[in-house]
């Protein structure tokens, strides 16, 4: 894991002091709210429906047990005892007082955390594959590159007032688990013909009001050029991105309007003036960051974990959990354990302070003190010995994080929606809760198989509904909540955007509608087909006919 050195420590402490002074001047009326807004946003403070929300950066989704305990402490001390993990691998606290924010940030800084650039028109927290460093198919740990990007983008003087927010995602594996084609910049690691790792550079993807799939503007970028190339892209965007209309200000619109070829030309031209300069990344600097991400020292494991095998045989719940929530690890005798923050009927992504502390304890005892946050609003214990799986499962069961539903119909992503968000048209969390209750039968969920439902409370698409196998979008019809359904979205390598099924359905018919879609799938699926496969084979028609015939 990355550990701060004296420079990083000094920097975040100075940043807290700076913000403390800005808050003081705001409260004294020396700064207007309009002028204060970008300052607080770039420190993670966002004004919501009822209070300030503090969004804490969890760089590339990696947390230590100590950091998790700090988050629990913040939840208790400054909030209402719980927090909310988001699709950006961040944590949000929804009930923060402005006066308390500098103290909360100071507590975070002690645990090597911050909320810098988690909001505002700047380069946001860089996200990565949540199985980074442990996945079998990985070329290089993407977190090394995310950390390099984090440092370069932190309080970047040229790019703090961009046309709009800017999100970068990195995947270290050819199997994209970071949704790199729906980010402002996506970096996909691959090897050139000599076996040297580098990046495919993808620009102009995004969801929101105008969903677009990113375009590859450079098929292979050698690693040492990463920062100069990013700086070139950002400079072109900062100068020529639209600023006349907030809905057209993301880089995807620029790429769309001038075309990918012209974008490539401008970036390459700008890059000619930047490459091989001060931003060049010497191998020793990369290696210095890379050392932080060296694998932990794993204990030797027996070839057969007897107790684990016995329990798998005897206990159906444990067996189901192994099947859906536990994934193969690079290190023999170890496993990746996915924690489900989607209990039956619960709000997706919520965790109480007690749950956070318990996860930290489990991480210390069984996962080398390390935890991950996924963009699907779940957590991961990345280094569990197979022999420890029964103990981890029991521990997780006690705190309600062992629901065996990873990737299944009740593992729903939902944005905060009308319960918290000032921009929402409709509620999202209660819809997720009702669907989850409806499909409570776990045997049925496993029979249905992989099915990703994603819900957004408005067109801004924070719930990524465009890339849900089933996407649900809250719309407002004369003051009543309606939900528009899309089918066939997907965020992997074979990315696709969902297509609208038909007229939006009223709130009280959403669960029935989802049930109808699932039944259609079960009726027409062929052997071994997942929901997405079936949809791609048969298209909208059978789903539509059944849904709107019964509605």
């Amino acid at each position: 894991m990355y550990r701060y050195d004296e420079y990083d420590h000094a920097f975040v402490a100075e940043r807290v002091a700076q913000f403390r002074d800005q808050v003081k001047r705001r409260l004294a009326g020396e700064i207007t709210e309009d002028e204060f807004k970008p300052l607080r946003l770039q420190n993670g403070l966002y004004l919501q429906l009822h209070a300030y929300m503090l969004r804490i950066a969890i760089p590339y989704g990696t947390l230590s047990s100590k950091q998790m305990r700090t988050l629990a402490h913040i939840a208790r001390r400054y909030d209402r005892g719980y927090g909310h993990f988001t699709t950006r691998q961040n944590l949000q606290f929804n009930w923060i007082k402005l006066e308390d924010a500098p103290d909360a940030l100071a507590d975070l800084a002690k645990a090597e955390m911050h909320a810098i650039q988690t909001s505002g028109n700047c380069i946001r927290n860089t996200t990565a594959d949540h199985w980074a460093g442990v996945a079998i198919d990985e070329i290089e740990d993407p977190r090394i590159w995310c950390e390099i990007i984090r440092q370069w983008s932190t309080v970047h003087p040229e790019f703090s007032f961009l046309p709009r927010k800017f999100k970068i995602a990195v995947t270290g594996s050819p199997n994209d688990r970071a949704a790199v084609r729906v980010h402002d910049i996506g970096l996909r690691m691959l090897r050139d013909e000599n076996g040297e790792p580098g990046f495919e550079v993808i620009v102009g993807g995004g969801l929101g009001r105008t969903p677009m799939i990113g375009k590859t503007i450079r098929p292979f970028l050698p690693k040492q050029h990463l920062l100069s190339y990013l700086e070139a892209i950002l400079r072109v965007y900062n100068r020529y991105g639209r600023r006349d209309n907030i809905y057209k200000a993301r880089i995807k619109i620029l790429v769309h309007e001038i075309g990918a070829e012209e974008m490539r030309r401008q970036v390459e031209e700008e890059w000619e003036g930047l490459r091989d300069g001060a931003l060049d990344l010497p191998a020793d600097v990369v290696a210095g960051i890379g050392r932080h991400f060296a694998p932990p020292r794993y204990q030797p494991q027996p070839t057969i974990a007897t107790e684990t095998e016995r329990l798998r045989f005897e206990n159906r719940d444990f067996a189901l959990w192994l099947r859906s929530n536990v994934v193969a690890h690079r290190q023999p005798g170890h496993a990746i354990v996915n924690l489900s923050l989607k209990p039956e009927g619960g709000p997706p992504g919520d965790a109480s302070a007690a749950q956070m502390d318990a996860v930290a304890d489990l991480a210390d005892a069984y996962s080398c003190g390390e935890i991950r946050v996924t963009h699907e609003q779940n957590l991961v214990l990345p280094h569990v010995a197979v022999a420890d799986l029964p103990a981890v499962w029991r521990g997780l069961t006690l705190i309600g994080f062992a629901t065996p539903n990873l990737g299944l119909v009740s593992d729903i992503i939902a944005c905060p929606g009308l319960d918290y968000c000032a921009l929402a048209n409709a509620r999202a969390i209660p819809v997720a809760q009702r669907i989850s209750q409806h499909f409570a039968d776990l045997a049925r969920q496993h029979d249905i198989g992989e099915l990703k439902i994603k819900i957004s409370g408005c067109i801004n698409a924070c719930g990524h509904h465009h890339v849900g196998h089933i996407g649900i979008l809250g719309v407002d019809k004369n003051g009543t909540e309606f939900y528009q359904i899309t089918l066939g979205g997907h965020a992997g390598d074979d990315v696709s955007l969902g297509s609208i099924l038909g007229p939006a359905v009223p709130a009280d018919q959403v669960v029935e509608a989802i049930d109808s879609l699932v039944r259609t799938y079960l009726a027409v699926r062929q052997d071994g087909e997942r929901f997405l496969d079936t949809y791609r084979r048969v298209g909208n028609t059978p789903f539509k006919e059944r849904l709107y015939a019964t509605a």
Partner: protein
């Protein structure tokens, strides 16, 4: 408007010339980019200092051939949240090696001085507050920075390399 330069407030020795005002025989003047384009020869023939004001949509590379003959370039922030001039500033300093006064004008707020300074600005028409205090804040807020820019500060990555090299000696 008071001008912040070198950490102090000074009287502005420059006159901002409107496009329809006659060109005085001497005295330092700042003209618009449009006027510069139209009257380049006449302007360069004067012996007094010359400055050009660029809008943030004006092309900085158009000044490149004459950059050594300009004593001042002013860049405009129509709104503090419009950050285009930061890129213009870095291009002027780092690519075109402009060595004269680089002035920030328009909606220039105290809390932006840090960024402006790092991008190469060295004179500021600060719109409000106490500019001298703001300057002190901007200079002292961060003891280290993470990016190399034209301001010459060694970024954290370079400092770390030096530490390693010293340890290896």
């Amino acid at each position: 408007m008071p001008l912040l330069k070198g950490g102090a407030l000074i009287d502005d020795p420059w006159q901002r010339l409107a496009d329809d005002t006659a060109l005085p025989a001497d005295g330092a003047v700042i003209v618009s980019f449009a006027r510069w384009r139209a009257e380049r020869e006449v302007l360069l023939a004067r012996s007094a200092p010359l400055g050009v004001l660029l809008k943030n949509t004006d092309p900085v590379d158009a000044l490149a051939p004459d950059i050594a003959r300009l004593q001042l370039i002013a860049l405009e922030f129509p709104k503090f949240s419009d950050g285009r001039a930061y890129s213009q500033a870095r291009l002027l300093r780092e690519r075109y090696r402009f060595g004269g006064e680089l002035r920030a004008t328009g909606h220039v707020l105290p809390d932006q001085l840090h960024h402006m300074r790092r991008c190469g600005f060295d004179a500021f028409e600060v719109a409000k507050g106490d500019p001298v205090t703001a300057w002190r804040r901007a200079v002292h807020t961060f003891s280290a920075v993470y990016q190399p820019t034209g301001d010459g500060r060694a970024p954290v990555s370079a400092l770390r390399r030096r530490l390693l090299a010293a340890a290896a000696d």
